[in-house]
Amino acid sequence: MNYHWDWSVFSQLTITTVDRYWQWMLSGLALTVLIALLAWMFALALGVLLGIARTVPFRPARVVVGAYVEVFRNIPLLVQLFFWYYIAPVFLSLPWQAVINTAQPVLVQTVTAVLCLGLFTAARVCEQVRAGIEAQPKDQFSAALALGLKRRQAYRYVILPMAFRVILPPLTSEFLNVFKNTAVVLTIGLLELTAQSRQVGEFTGHIFEAFIVATLLYFLIAQTVSRLMGRLERRLTIPGESGGGR
């Protein structure tokens, strides 16, 4: 193969003559991390609430949340993204449509991306939380109630702290998935890391260098996240509690 390697392309000026290509890569990385973190916080908050709702002795709540989970788990993420980006605004009232049409496109795309990824991931978090709660022995609940705790308190102080420790490893892999899933948002025009690396490759003609850097950056993200979550897991381990769910 007669490919001409040149790693100095990243320090060259872009066509805007203001930025350099490494800054484009960095802005892609920043957008990937930003969207992933916002979507994750949203998914975690919503997913925990939904997960609890799936275990309460109130049938309508369980049915509604169950339907939510089935819908969001059984439709491809890309289709969901197109729904939120192309279809959902049509259902809004005209004043709201006007707001969307006049707002910064990047802002609208980012909000849509966070919303879509958040709702998608929340369904998965919900199932993990439910599994974690259901993994707790039934007696825990009875014991907590017998001690005079209210149902809410039993969840807050007895069931959830144990459940979260059990589901920390699967939650870690969901967290990692959020970072990978952000790449999908390039289809609605957001220049996250993958899109940005492709753009750098197309402008410079050095697509391999750009893709290699993007691959390494994704690898770095994954390593950092699993390191941090591993540390959190060790810190939360209760001594003597069957090795903290391992």
């Binding site: 059984n74 279809i87 049509v90 259902f91 790449a183 993958t194 893709f211």
Partner: protein, 226 residues
């Protein structure tokens, strides 16, 4: 609400959509077979006592599991034609479909490697000892004793993953392949009926995946019950 839906475009579009669905399913089958085959190989490499072999497999899995599928699709879209050209010596345009097949098989292999490795490790060690004592070679032990059990243990995970892979086949959209979603997009853009086509695609995906997940659930529960 200023929404007027016109579903009359659908009947004429069905043959093309069906063709797209055919490709989606073909991609699913290739990713499953290719992924399982490659994944088993990688799992065996990871469990190898040769440090070089096992660390190669570990690096492969580590990298493929940390990049998005979209990036893997782009990588193969770029690399596969180049590799073919390097091997055959002449420029051979094969189209994005085949590079998609390779991308999915390679990407899913990294996941299946972890699944099968866990499956192999779940088989009690005594079985290896017993089958070696019976005169089987190491390869025969793996082939006839360990792997069948490992695959059976991991069947629920593999089936669940198949549903996710089927959903992920829609990502070939990024290299403009006409899978089911790609076909729906093309018809929708041609007839300016994108909303109808995307809603239809969403409903079809939902029905298929929901039915499949219920099937997997029922099957898994039956296995546990007996």
């Amino acid at each position: 609400m200023n929404l007027s839906l016109d579903w009359s475009v659908l009947p004429a579009a069905l043959p093309f959509l069906l063709q797209g669905m055919g490709f989606s399913i073909a991609l699913l089958v290739v990713s499953l077979l290719g992924g399982l085959l490659l994944g088993t190989g990688l799992a065996l490499m990871r469990l190898s006592s040769n440090v070089l072999v096992s660390s190669f497999a570990a690096a492969y899995v580590g990298i493929f599991r940390s990049i998005p599928l979209v990036l893997a699709i782009f990588w193969c879209y770029l690399l596969v034609p180049m590799l073919i050209e390097a091997v055959r010596g002449v420029h051979t345009p094969i189209g994005p479909m085949y590079s998609a097949f390779i991308a999915y098989a390679m990407f899913e292999a990294a996941y299946f490697c972890e699944v099968i490795r866990a499956g192999i490790l779940s088989v009690p060690r005594g079985q290896t000892g017993a089958s070696l004592a019976l005169g089987l070679t190491r390869a025969q032990t793996m082939r006839h004793i360990i792997l069948p059990q490992a695959l059976r243990t991991m069947m629920p995970l593999i089936l669940t993953k198949s549903i996710i892979i089927f959903q992920d086949t829609s990502l070939v959209y990024v290299i403009s392949v006409s899978d089911f979603l790609g076909a729906a997009t093309k018809i929708g853009q041609r007839d300016s009926r994108l909303i109808e086509l995307y809603l239809f695609a969403g409903v079809v995906y939902f029905i298929l995946c929901f039915a499949a997940s219920k099937f997997v659930e029922a099957r898994t529960h039956r296995k546990v019950a007996t």
